[in-house]
Amino acid sequence: MNSIKITIIALLFIPLSGFTQDEQPLTNKEKRQNRTTYRGITYAALGIGSLRDFATSPLTYTGVFIAAGGFKINLDKRRETEWGTPFSVGFFANTFNDHSSSSTLVSFSPYYSELYRLNALSSDKLNVKIGGMLQATVIGRLNPDLQNNSLGLEIIPTLFGSIKGTLDVSRTTDKDKKFLFFKYKREKRQKSLAFRLNTGLVNASYRNGFAYSGQSFLVNETQLFDDYQFKVFSGFRMSSSLDYTLYSRKTTNAVQISYVWDALQTGGDLDTFEMAQHGLRFTLLFNTK
């Protein structure tokens, strides 16, 4: 399994060979001033997912989630800085052998990301950027069937290596089209298609200890993270997003439809937690600079 992981991760970073940087003599201040700022509001996101916490059950729970959130992104052709705070609620269940259990999940995942242009793979139409993202995902789960282990709470901090390719798919001229007997006109419009892949370089988790439950409330000193352990440099996490962005003809704002994917597995010598989510995200982008 480990060799497969290493091979896949290595393949993903092949494009990084031949890395060079711009040589345009702009000061950092000038570069910052020239960068465009968008504030994004994800007003709806929905998707499907699965989770399994081996500390309490070997069964996989599947279900749906809804999400929302906001982010701010400063970008130009050379650099892209983004931070955001997505929030989601999920409803998962396992039905097997005429037995059903459900797990309600709440997740909060703040992140900060920096990307820089990779000239070797970029062109007028395609802008490839690489960099990293720091994300801390807080996951709370409630499964009443697990009695004193009904509450699950994890924090999954991850430092990702990231690569993002943005393809300019704008319509640069007006086009007259015809469908059956109907004639219509497709006006020129700015559009882009972007794919981003994040691979966990430093995976960590803050999670329950050996017995899963804690004993603090038994000794009259209740703690939220009772008997928790911090594990670093173990586990796995990967996420991606495919964004289709449609810019307004009249303003500099845009709408974005994204397919997002996130998969993680905690590491260490204790029972692991694994979760994957696939979602469709609808975002409004407001150009504020």
Binding site: M1, H99, D145
Partner: protein, 334 residues
């Protein structure tokens, strides 16, 4: 340009199903042997009272695995797995399916020591008070307060306990009846006992499993009861217990051993001093078992087998007009 598009397309398609490569296979199964192994191993690594109870878990495995056979009905498998858990002699151990729940039945190992209707008929007024989880009234011509506390529901709050203690502040003593109290929310223990101490008091210790070996435990953590900053009761208290006093009820009884103004009376409690966890088997059934030990002030786990009373009194079922345990408590407080 085409090569870039192809690269991204291949990458995207690969990532869409990527998690299947990294995650472990689906482990859901109704296979009897696999479910047996899973449960036996979970208990083997995390159960906290093997040594105290002298249980040879390997021998239990040998005995019960011999009862497994291919394609055995669910009910038969349940009886095997449930029977195996019953060997732990612990009512914090259960196997739970949607057609049966296994249990040990600690309370059957001592005589029934409580008859609520008798108390209602012969000792309390018809309009006795019910304040939150407490049913209470005056006894012995208003000289003694009687408080029946049947369950730790997590509902003790300032209002109801203040009312109870204020009502009986001028009595000679209080009888706190925890007979057949099967336990519940641990937080109630400290809310209750904080009304009967005048200084921060070490009552017991607790330790939790932290490794797969039978004696792999954390350090013993001390438990303290801190005086409530409000209404407290400082006169003598007699706490009534029996074999049905379990879990949080037993924790309370254990803690009172360190509180000089509280006397335990009745029969030995049922025990249940290990915190039960919760988990699920590959076939969807759920289970729980003890993963901690409560320790006495000299750090012994013995009271898991029952907290003994300071004064032993048994109910006489040949006379259903008198509660001998309650009568003795009244006598002690007069």
């Amino acid at each position: 340009m085409k090569k870039y598009k192809l690269f991204w397309l291949v990458l995207l398609l690969g990532v869409l199903s990527c998690e299947k490569v990294f995650f472990e296979e689906n482990l859901a199964t109704t296979d009897a042997q696999k479910n047996f192994e899973y449960l036996w191993t979970e208990v083997s690594e995390k159960y906290s009272y093997f040594e105290l109870k002298g249980i040879d878990w390997d021998a239990v495995k040998t005995e019960y695995s011999a009862k497994l056979y291919e394609d055995m009905p669910q009910d038969s498998l349940f009886l095997v797995l449930g029977g195996m858990l019953t060997e732990l002699e612990d009512d914090h151990v259960n196997l739970i399916s949607n057609f049966n729940v296994s249990f040990f039945g600690t309370r059957f190992f001592g005589q029934d020591n409580f008859y609520r209707r008798l108390i209602e008929d012969n000792y309390l007024e018809r309009n006795y008070y019910i304040s939150g989880p407490f049913a209470h009234d005056f006894l012995d011509n208003g000289e003694i307060g009687y408080v029946y506390f049947p369950s730790f529901q997590g509902t003790i709050n300032e209002t109801n306990i203040d009312f109870v203690l204020e009502r009986y502040k001028d009595t000679k003593g209080l009888i706190l009846d925890l007979r057949e109290n099967g336990g519940g929310a641990v937080t109630d223990i400290f809310s209750l006992l904080s009304r009967f101490v005048e200084e921060k008091t070490l009552t017991h210790y607790s330790r939790i499993k932290n490794g797969a070996g039978p004696n792999d435990f954390s350090e013993a953590e001390p438990a303290y009861v801190t005086p409530y900053k409000g209404i407290r009761y400082t006169k003598p208290v007699i706490m009534l217990i029996d074999r049905g006093t379990y879990s949080a009820g037993s924790f309370t009884a254990l803690a009172t051993k360190a509180l000089p103004n509280i006397t335990l009376m009745g029969d030995t409690t049922g025990g249940g001093l290990g915190l039960p966890n919760g988990g699920q088997l590959p076939n969807g059934w759920t289970y729980r078992f003890s993963i901690t030990q409560a320790l006495t002030l000299d750090k012994r786990p013995d009271y898991e087998n029952g907290v003994p009373p300071d004064i032993q009194v048994l109910f006489d079922w040949n006379d259903l007009t008198t509660d001998e345990v309650l009568e003795r408590a009244i006598l002690e407080l007069q």
